[in-house]
Amino acid sequence: MKKLLKSIFYFVFVMLFIISYSFIDIAKTTKVTFVVSGILQGNIVSYKASGEPYRGMMVGGMPFLISKISELRKKAQKNRSAFYLLDCGDDFPGTAHSYYSQCRAVVDTMNLMGVSAMLLGNREFDYGFEVLKARAAEANFPILAANVRNKKNGEPFGEFRDEAVFDVNNDGFKIAVLGITPPETLTDSTIKNVSEIAMKGETETIELFKKKAAESGADFTVALTQLDYEKDKALLDLLVKSGINMVVGLDFTNQMTGVRKAGETTLVALNGFAKGAQLTKIEILFDSETYKPFDFCAEVVPVVVNQVEPDGDCARVIADYLRKLDAIMNQVIGEAEVDLKRPFNEETNFGNLIADYMLRAASAEIALQNAGSFRADIDAGDVTVGDFYNALPFDNDIVLIEVPGHVLHDVIDTTCRRERGLLQIAGGAYSYDPNLAQSPDKTSSVITNFTIASREIELNRNYRVATNSFLSSGQGGYPQLKNCAIIECFDNLRETSMRFIREDKILRPVIEGRIIRTGVK
């Protein structure tokens, strides 16, 4: 008995020693690991990477991403480091899985990720604000949007939060995270999707955050953004000047492998093309008394399929969605009598078909559809939803805009001068001679003929142009269209087209000389 008591005593003594030692260690430094995810764009399933550095490899996919995050979390716990998963947003829409589940598949799987805070990205609005609000309510993590306000009353939406405050190790060391939704959300999104929201100014947002952070006793402040370090220097400067300790943003150049400093502010970047294939991890060491950061180390964490054991629970959740999606994708919507060829630098039957549908949907005078929207051909025979989705994967809406004749002419001129991607047209036709671009008179147009409803375009009158929301927001290389008045927004281009295919049943589009290239190639 005495021996037992003795050994218990020694055990307790040793344990006390170890515990006190670990406390001493903790007393010196506090470790916090931030892992940045995001820009999933609906990619819950692994895909073959088309860009560097993982070209040709199977990357991403929620089961692998979650598994990798769990691995990092366990590692952090082993190192006695607090762990926070910050998500840069742009996660919900982007794939068939997202679209046909209205982002449920993404939110359900993200709920397994253990997200500490997610930024509301501009892409989150793609399927409409109602869908977004419904998904936000289902998310088990806070979605931050400090600058998104209700247009009607200027109040924040209940589904989103301005900031999140974490009490590290519950010992009084607090980290406040601010989420700044990209200000261009209002302009880049389809108007109907953002009609209910107003964006607050960044300066005001940051000031309010600083005030709230101070009130909550935060020792370390983080701004979760989608700012591009190369382009959005103004916002970055604003954040650095306001004394935010860490800014999480995006890097599209793939140059910034993780972290750098701007003054006292630490900049952490996630690859802007990550799509679940990459994470950025930063471990910061804080002085435990002052809670000042004094060192950090960062790394880019790849999520490559054959390097990670997938998470079974997530895979099963996804499988359920995939089965349902399969049923949808296998639905036959019509029959193509001819092969539907996607356009590149010429007029194609598929381009004409879609442009015609746009014209039909919007009752416009002319319809323009960018060649880049087409991602695949469709063989003759039964056309399934899957076939059509693969061909037109982008979730753009049909938009009817009012375009002055000269702008329209300018837009066509722009497309004719480009090396790739001619705008597909319906309701009109144009001919061009690329050789004219080489002429001494640089200002002269390469368009040799441009008719609308078989009549020469009138430069000084306005035309009702049907196009997609991507083009109407000035993207795709046609900034001229950004300033054009939107007359009306219609449904999703792909879904509208499928509706027409179901009605028509048989597809037999032809090339009918809407785009004619003249001159010698």
Binding site: M58, G61, P63, G312, L322, K324, D326, A327, E335
Partner: protein, 731 residues
């Protein structure tokens, strides 16, 4: 193995609970395992049946539909016309009813030459017209044998796997023959089996199904983590081999960290011909869940029971074993003789009662032991004291021993003995031990005075434990000394035959306590012993002492001389004997009377006593006016000096005689020395006597050593002695 009681109790409790629990877990889990196996079997059989039925039902529907379509007037008239274009047009319209991918219409190669029931007709059919909505696979073409069978009137329907892991329902029928052209056609229709058809099974039953053609999975409800259906996977050769013998084959696997049971079976046609394999995949936990709950609960119950058993065992052991252990420990200590240890258990139950009784017993034993010890101590002390006393004749030594022993026995600091002096009618301090400075016999009390006087007069022991505040306490000079304060005191009278002879005062009990009744009893016993010893000593002294001169009597002289000669022999030491006689003593008697004679004797005796070495030399009244002095360890010269000293002292002494006269006394002394003069007692006495007579004859008032006596005289002198041991007749 030596297990302690507490361990045994805990073990007993644990075993009593664990074994039944383990048994119940084993029985329940094996029962549940069996049940769940049966359930799995049933579920799998059911699912297999559903899947099979689904296929048969679909095939039947297609066949029925095809038969109806083939019977339609439009089709029949087109066939009658025998125009491929018209037939194709009709077939194309069947899409809304059949959702087919491919239709082939076969006609007899040479319809005119061959009879309808030609047994070789199998070879004579060729494709008459076709509608292929997508890329056609040759695998979908019915074999000649099938066509032949169909031609003989047996319709055929089956599941066919084409390339690209696609499965089709294929129905092959023969059109009616009563046509005008008297020709018959065979229609083969392939309807794709969409994934969602088996997905429905998964959605309803939550059971995954994979359909294999001869070796590759073509349909599956399963998705790999990369989001692809798990088609294109080869069936395991073991499954194929097993299914050659059995109707089903079961395996377990782990897919995406989920344990599943995979049951393979064959897909057979209506005509029982092999068409592929089917694998039904069931998550194990779907069945194991209920059992697991039960087993888990059992485990929890077992764990709790074990905990409770251990706890109750522990409680019981701490309730019984721990006190027993305490008892054992204390009993062991008690057995060693220490009765002061107590069982420290304060409880109201039986063990508490036992502890109280045990402690009481211990107390009793302790008290008994203490009293025994006390008695033993007293007896030992008494024995020691009496032993010491018995061998002592010297009174002072005796008193010192008595006092020292009593002080020790009573654990006191100091003490004193006071004896009653009948002449003074006072009790005077005869001995003190433990007091600083030289002891002086000056403290005296009258009976009844002071504590000692009270004790003496009352004959009772007096204890005063707060002596300083006791008014009857009489301070002597020594007690004024601050270093020597008397705190408490016990005065014990010494009594012989109910007569007090003195008091023993024991002062300052050590350890700050006062004297108690035990001390009183012991002191009384000791005092009785001491009184007797002192009385005995007094009586003994009286028996060997001459009443008048207080010198030793003749008999004692003889005994002592014997002893001393023996001692001298033993130690080779000299011994001298001085014989003396008062000169003209008869004259004193005759002139002044016997009273003066007695005074002379007393005076001479006193002078001798004072002159000789105290405690060494032995002075005796040899007889009449003769005295003898034994001087142990005294040689010739020393003896002569001693004799001379005595002679001079007596010569110089003055004795007041009657009428104020001063009487002069002289002595004649004779000395003999052992072994110079003799080694025999008798001879030594004779020789000393002879020397004395020499002194008498040579003028008296002188001391003569026998060695100085002339040879002739000494012999004559010797003859004058009448006999040994008797004093010579007075001259």
């Amino acid at each position: 193995m030596n297990l302690k009681l507490s361990h045994k109790i805990i073990l007993n409790f644990a075993v009593v609970l664990i074994i039944p629990m383990l048994l119940s877990v084993y029985l329940v889990s094996s029962d549940l395992a069996e049940r769940s196996e049966r359930e799995i079997d049933g579920q799998l059989a059911f699912t297999t049946k559903i899947v099979n039925r689904f296929f048969y039902r679909s095939l039947n529907t297609i066949q029925l539909q095809l038969n109806l379509l083939a019977e339609t007037e439009k089709f029949r008239s087109a066939l009658e016309k025998g125009e491929a274009g018209e037939i194709t047009a009709v077939i194309k319209n069947w899409e809304s009813k059949l959702n087919y991918s491919f239709i082939d219409v076969y006609s007899r190669k040479n319809s005119a030459a061959a009879a309808p029931n030609d047994s070789h007709g199998a070879d004579s059919y060729e494709v008459f017209t076709s509608v292929h909505k997508t890329k056609f696979s040759p695998a979908l073409t019915p074999s000649a044998e099938i066509l032949g069978r169909v031609a003989r009137g047996r319709n055929h329907s089956s599941i066919v796997f084409a390339g690209e892991q696609k499965a089709y329902f294929r129905c092959v029928i023969k059109t009616l023959e009563n046509l005008r052209s008297s020709s018959s056609f065979i229609i083969s229709v392939c309807v794709p089996i969409p994934n969602d058809s088996i997905d429905a099974i998964k959605d309803i039953t939550n059971i995954d199904v994979t359909i294999y053609d001869e070796n590759i999975a073509v349909l599956s409800t399963r998705f790999d983590p990369a989001g692809k259906r798990t088609t294109g996977v080869k069936i395991s050769p073991e499954a194929v081999a097993a299914l050659e013998k059995e109707t089903s084959y079961r395996t377990s696997e782990k897919f995406l960290s989920e344990h599943t049971m995979n049951v393979y079976s064959k897909i057979l046609d209506q005509d029982k011909s092999f068409r592929g394999y089917m694998c039904v995949i069931v998550p194990r936990e779907l069945f194991a869940m209920a059992s697991m709950y039960v087993i888990n609960n059992l485990y929890i119950i077992m764990a709790i029971s074990l905990l409770l058993a251990t706890m109750s065992g522990y409680l019981l052991s701490s309730n019984i074993a721990a006190p027993l252990k305490e008892f054992a420990k204390i009993a062991h200590i008690t057995s060693e003789g220490d009765f002061k240890q107590k069982v420290n258990i304060e409880r109201s139950d039986e063990i508490g009662e036992l502890a109280t009784a045990f402690n009481k017993m211990g107390d009793k034993l302790d008290r008994y032991n203490e009293s025994l010890k006390r008695k033993m101590f007293e007896v030992t002390t008494l024995y020691e004291v009496s032993q010491s006393m018995n061998f002592l004749n010297n009174k002072d030594q005796l008193l010192t021993i008595i006092l020292t022993k009593m002080i020790d026995a009573l654990n006191a600091e100091k003490g004193s003995i006071m004896l009653y002096n009948a002449e003074e009618c006072l009790i005077s301090c005869e001995m003190a031990v433990g007091y600083p400075g030289k002891f002086e016999r000056r403290v005296k009390f009258a009976p009844g005075e002071g504590k000692a006087g009270q004790a003496f007069s009352t004959g009772n022991t007096i204890i005063s434990n707060d002596i300083q505040s006791d008014s009857s306490f009489v301070r002597t000079q020594s007690t004024h000394n601050t270093d020597n304060v008397t705190r408490n005191m016990m005065c014990v009278p010494m009594k012989t035959k109910d007569e007090a002879i003195g008091v023993i005062n024991i002062v300052n009990k050590k350890g700050g306590e006062g004297f108690n009744d035990d001390d009183k009893a012991l002191a009384a016993s000791l005092c009785t012993q001491a009184a007797m010893t002192i009385e005995n000593a007094r009586l003994y002294e009286l028996s060997i002492t001459d009443g008048m001169t207080r010198l030793y009597i003749h008999r004692f002289f003889q005994i002592r001389l014997d002893e001393e000669i023996k001692r001298s022999k033993r130690y080779s030491a000299p011994l001298s004997l001085v014989m003396t006689d008062i000169d003209h003593f008869k004259k004193f008697n005759d002139t002044y009377g016997h009273q003066v004679g007695d005074m002379v004797l007393i005076k001479v005796a006193d002078i001798i006593r004072e002159t000789i070495r105290n405690e060494v030399d032995i002075a005796c009244r040899y007889g009449g006016e003769e005295f003898a002095i034994i001087a142990p360890q005294t040689g010739l010269e020393d003896a002569k000096r001693m004799a001379e000293r005595i002679r001079i002292a007596v010569e110089n002494a003055e004795l007041a005689g009657p009428n104020g006269k001063s009487l002069k006394i002289t002595l004649s002394l004779g000395i003999s020395t052992y072994p110079i003069n003799s080694t025999e007692k008798k001879d030594l006495i004779l020789k000393a006597d002879s020397a004395m007579y020499h002194s008498k004859e040579n003028g008296r008032n002188m001391a003569t050593h026998f060695s100085e006596v002339p040879e002739t005289e000494s012999k004559g002198g010797a003859s004058k002695t009448e006999s040994e041991g008797r004093p010579p007749a007075r001259k």
